[in-house]
């Protein structure tokens, strides 16, 4: 299939290669902008009273400057990484969406692991609030990071926030059906986990509290793993050409 891009006819593989380069640029830009947001967040929490351990003036200025530079640089790169209109044919969109689906599966498998690592820190920070202890900037950062990451994970597994070109592949009838089946697994795991927690709490309250992160982690990892398996099974046995 010959399409015209940047003044010359390109094959489908060449278009996909070019799109990949644009996507990389956009991803690097997004990464930079997110780093900038993190730096800006670190600066913003200095204005929250309560924690005596503030940035020095130099640190404050350095983080502020880094935030501005990274956000501005990231936005410029994202702007330069916009996919050309010529690459928006239905077939190219489908090929891109299928490739994106593969990457999303890997992310869906890794994100519960990351959440599992972050969970003890978030619980510790929540404990500081519950006990009326001093909430440090690290606590605020941990809770904010955990909450943002959980929201991102929920959006991904619910198929929200997809680009319009990716919707026919990533949010079609089958995808919605597979997601609902996967989420049902999480629901079942959490219900079972709550029952187990109740029984354990009759014996030892401390052990039950210690088990809460495990139940939560399983409730998050279960649907992700199930979705990965269902999607893989759905793609098996095709006669692609």
């Amino acid at each position: 299939m010959g399409l015209v891009m940047q003044g010359a006819a390109m094959t489908e593989n060449e278009i996909l290669g070019a799109v990949r380069r644009f996507e990389w640029r956009r991803k690097v830009g997004l990464g930079m902008a997110l780093l900038g947001v993190v730096a800006a967040g670190a600066v913003a929490v200095q204005f929250v009273p309560g924690d005596p351990d503030h940035f020095s003036k130099t640190e404050f200025l350095a983080f502020g400057a880094a935030a501005i530079a990274f956000i501005a640089g990231g936005l410029v790169l994202m702007r330069l990484g916009r996919i050309p209109a010529d690459a928006h044919t239905p077939r190219i969109a489908m090929l891109r969406a299928e490739r994106l689906q593969g990457r999303r599966h890997i992310a869906l498998m890794l994100m519960p692991l990351s959440l599992g690592f972050m969970l003890p820190g978030a619980i510790r920070a929540a404990g500081h609030v519950a006990d009326g202890r001093l909430v440090t900037h690290i606590d605020m950062f941990t809770v904010a990071a955990f909450t943002s990451f959980s929201l991102l994970f929920a959006l991904m597994i619910a198929g929200r926030g997809l680009d319009r070109w990716a919707k026919p592949v990533l949010d079609d009838e089958l995808s919605r059906e597979l997601r609902s089946r996967a989420l049902a697994v999480g629901y079942f795991v959490v219900l079972l986990g709550v029952a187990v927690l109740f029984v354990v709490s009759l014996v030892s309250r401390t052990a039950a509290v210690d088990l809460i992160p495990v139940v939560t982690a399983l409730g998050v990892a279960g649907p992700a793993l199930r979705l990965f398996m269902l999607e893989r099974a759905a793609g098996a046995g095709g006669d692609e050409g």
Binding site: M94, L174, A234
Partner: protein, 72 residues
């Protein structure tokens, strides 16, 4: 419906027109995996998808989909 199973002739119809799963998916506006699972009778399509598939082949929906008694 208890005792019946939805079967289809999608693969044969597609072969007659010489279409790949991707080409059919593009015509209907779904993913290749959806076409694959419908063909393999792993996934039961909605009425609107069944009608869209029939429209893509320019055939009545009963020519593509039919009920058969479940042997199990």
């Amino acid at each position: 419906m208890i005792g019946y199973r939805l079967r289809n002739r999608l693969k044969e119809a597609r072969a007659e027109l010489g279409l790949t799963q991707t080409e059919l998916a593009l015509r209907v506006g779904v993913s290749r995996k959806t076409i694959n699972t419908v063909e393999n009778e792993v996934f039961v399509p909605s009425t609107s998808l069944a009608l869209a598939l029939a429209a893509a082949f320019e055939r009545p929906v009963e020519a593509l989909f039919y009920l058969s008694r479940d042997e199990d």
